[in-house]
């Protein structure tokens, strides 16, 4: 703890000491370290706040506490293994990470037009389910940070329904590595469509309950209306995209502006609000979930039987998975095939799985509209079996720069609301 005439730096130490010192000196400003271990900072985000009484006069953001070197690690694995890494970046939007990465690899391979329709439809369906799951967590954690535990329990309960679908389809609740260059890891298992239909029937009611709980709730309104305001020029200058941008009045959505995975064939609206505050962001998110339901419904109608992996023996992943008694795992049929009936299949499997495929030299950038904003993937290949460089433009990373613009001059309580409304996930920010 440092005490000067001007400020008290309360980084570490006992609060009683801080109060005692504050009473003894004439210093009026208090520098508080919030995080990196703090329940309301969505992981290991560190905020350095200068407080003048209740007012936050300066907000600085420090990141890097969850840097895991994913981009560097990917340079030492095959292109397919990359999906296993990227899915762990923003762990609340794994399927967006995977899709952005796979679209970049497919662009470098020049096979975008040969991705089977069924694979694209499954990708869209999974991404939209993921969008809802991510938005539910955004609302749930927001509620919890403001002290509304019902919002939290409801949000996580609804998300669980989506995670059940993920578990059935991919075998895992998170970290799926389901979307692969060339398609998806395996087809929908029996019962998956029924489970999604069940979700589609149940979910509108659940969203309605959420809306009833929050839309007109006076306490919620008091904490969110006109809080953490960011207008459109501010968004543009700071590179803010996604729900935050749409809550500032610009209906910009990559799914409409630069469609990928066949989004041009779906009918949906882009929710927009011109409030520019925390409440507007909530309204945009909850309206987006309703639009996602529409898209998922159209996905189910579009699902025609067919392959889910590119029909190119040089690229398509040869291994198969199957649903066993303990969940998704190795397919006994595939193993029997390569181990005891076909030497060529074994060689083929071995070559693609250990060596991987070569990607022609070049660079590509692809972007998807993740639940948080524009998630971009810039991939460089030198013609080898491993990425030469992969970089992710994570929306949360960019958005956290806006914390100062949103918080300075507001009260310290609104800092929590501001950070929560950005919905950052440090796994994606730090990569």
């Amino acid at each position: 703890m440092t005490v000067t005439e001007d400020y008290i730096d309360a980084s570490g130490g006992d609060w009683d000491d801080v109060i005692e010192k504050a009473q003894a000196t004439s210093a009026e400003r208090l520098v508080v370290n919030m995080g990196p271990q703090h329940p309301s900072t969505h992981g290991v985000l560190r905020l350095i706040l200068t407080l003048d009484g209740e007012t936050c006069t300066e907000a600085r953001v420090a990141i890097g506490y969850l840097h895991t070197g994913i981009e560097k690690n990917m340079e030492f694995r095959t292109w397919t293994q990359g999906t296993t890494f990227v899915t762990r970046m923003d762990y609340l939007t794994p399927l967006f990470n995977e899709t952005a990465y796979c679209l970049a690899v497919e662009k470098l391979l020049g096979v975008e037009d040969r991705i089977p329709d069924r694979a694209s439809v499954i990708r869209v369906m999974m991404m939209e389910l993921n969008r809802m799951a991510s938005h539910f967590v955004a609302m749930a954690t927001f509620g919890m940070e403001l002290g509304a535990t019902t919002v939290m329990t409801n949000g996580f309960r609804e998300r669980e329904m989506i995670l059940d679908v993920f578990e059935l389809v991919t075998g895992l609740r998170m970290n799926h590595a389901y979307v692969r260059p060339g398609g998806v890891a395996q087809d929908l298992p029996p019962g998956a469509v029924g489970k999604v239909r069940e979700l589609l029937k149940e979910m509108p009611e659940r969203i309605k309950v959420m809306r009833k709980l929050l839309d007109e709730n006076p306490v919620y309104l008091a904490r969110t209306k006109d809080v953490a305001y960011l207008n459109l020029p501010g968004c543009m200058a700071l590179g803010v995209t996604g729900p935050l941008l749409r809550a500032s009045g610009l209906a910009y959505d990559l799914r409409k502006a630069k469609p990928y995975c066949g989004y041009e064939g779906y009918e949906f609206d882009v929710p927009v609000s011109d409030g520019g505050d925390v409440y507007a962001r909530y309204r945009v998110r909850i309206a987006e979930m309703e639009e996602s339901l529409k898209i998922i419904e159209q996905c189910l109608d579009k699902l025609a039987p067919g392959p889910v992996m590119i029909e190119d023996a040089k690229i398509g992943w040869p291994a198969k998975l199957a649903l066993g008694p303990d969940g998704m795992g190795n397919s006994p049929d595939h193993i029997a095939h390569i181990m005891s009936s076909s030497m060529e299949a074994l060689i083929h499997h071995f070559k693609l799985v250990t060596e991987g495929f070569r990607v022609p030299a070049g660079q590509a950038y692809t972007a998807v509209e993740s639940a948080k904003g524009e998630l971009g993937c810039y991939a460089v290949s030198d013609g080898g079996t491993r990425p030469y460089r992969v970089h992710f433009r994570d929306p949360s990373f960019t958005h956290l720069q806006a914390v100062a613009a949103m918080c300075e001059g507001g009260t310290v309580a609104d800092v929590i609301a501001a950070v929560a409304s950005i919905d950052p996930v440090m796994g994606g920010v730090d990569r």
Binding site: K72, F76, G384
Partner: protein, 246 residues
């Protein structure tokens, strides 16, 4: 008229097969042998095979390919950019069109002016900068470090990439934070990971690595690290020491 003819003849000569062969042989060797691995013997008879990397692509006009809708506005963008840059249009060294994307390779001195033009010129209006990232090419002498910027125009629904380079011995690139404030953290990240100094950045400090870290981890001369893992008597080497295929 005669200069036109001469230029045409030069361009014609540049496309001759023997010239292309020379270029091909000047490119660095990326892979030898049939299987791209050196840890086991090659009995295929292709052990002397050499695969060379590709020379930098320099696309010629027209940039718009009528068969590829993704390239529809590339000629317009290139024209508008040239017009907006005026006298400094020479700063664009080459233009690369591939995978339905357009990349302008520019001299680093011209970057702030280019950024300002991209944002402010009504014909361009690239409101969003999607950040900058580095790429390290240790074998490209004099331009080892690349800084890659992605710009997006919402007004014209257009997307371009701008690349600039700096030698490893003089790692300086002008900052464009004054024009695109969003690049603040992105430039700090590129400094942290590649050691590119963005001149004019308000506070160029490390962002992902600790403040007292040595080295810039995303550079190719920085090792991945890792330790061998023993499991049931067998040892698995760290990822950068395992058998690899180029």
């Amino acid at each position: 008229m005669s200069t036109d003819n001469e230029r045409e003849r030069d361009e014609e000569a540049a496309r001759l097969p023997d010239r292309m062969g020379e270029e091909r042989l000047a490119a660095p060797i990326k892979r030898t042998g049939m299987f791209g691995t050196g840890t086991s013997g090659d009995t295929s008879g292709f052990g002397l095979l050499q695969v060379r990397g590709s020379a930098p692509v320099s696309s010629q006009r027209p940039f718009t390919d009528p068969d590829d809708p993704r390239t529809a506005d590339f000629d317009r963008v290139a024209d508008d950019l040239e017009a907006a840059l005026g006298d400094s249009a020479g700063a664009v060294e080459r233009v690369e069109v591939s995978h339905g994307e357009i990349t302008f390779h520019v001299l680093r001195e011209a970057l702030p002016e280019l950024a300002r033009v991209l944002r402010d010129d009504p014909a361009l209006r690239y409101e969003l900068c999607l950040g900058v990232t580095g790429v390290h090419f240790p074998d490209r002498e004099g331009r080892e470090l690349h800084a890659v910027y992605q710009f997006r125009s919402i007004t014209h629904n257009s997307e371009i990439r701008v690349t600039t380079t700096c030698p490893d011995t003089d790692r300086h690139i002008p900052s464009i934070v004054a024009v695109y404030p969003t690049n603040d953290w992105h430039e700090r990240e590129a400094w942290d990971f590649f050691g590119i100094v963005f001149d004019g950045h308000p506070a160029l400090t490390r962002i992902q690595m600790p403040d007292d870290w040595h080295g810039h981890p995303q550079r190719k001369d920085y090792p991945l690290g890792g330790i061998p893992v023993e499991y049931r008597g067998a040892t698995v080497p760290p990822p950068d020491q395992r058998r690899s295929y180029t």
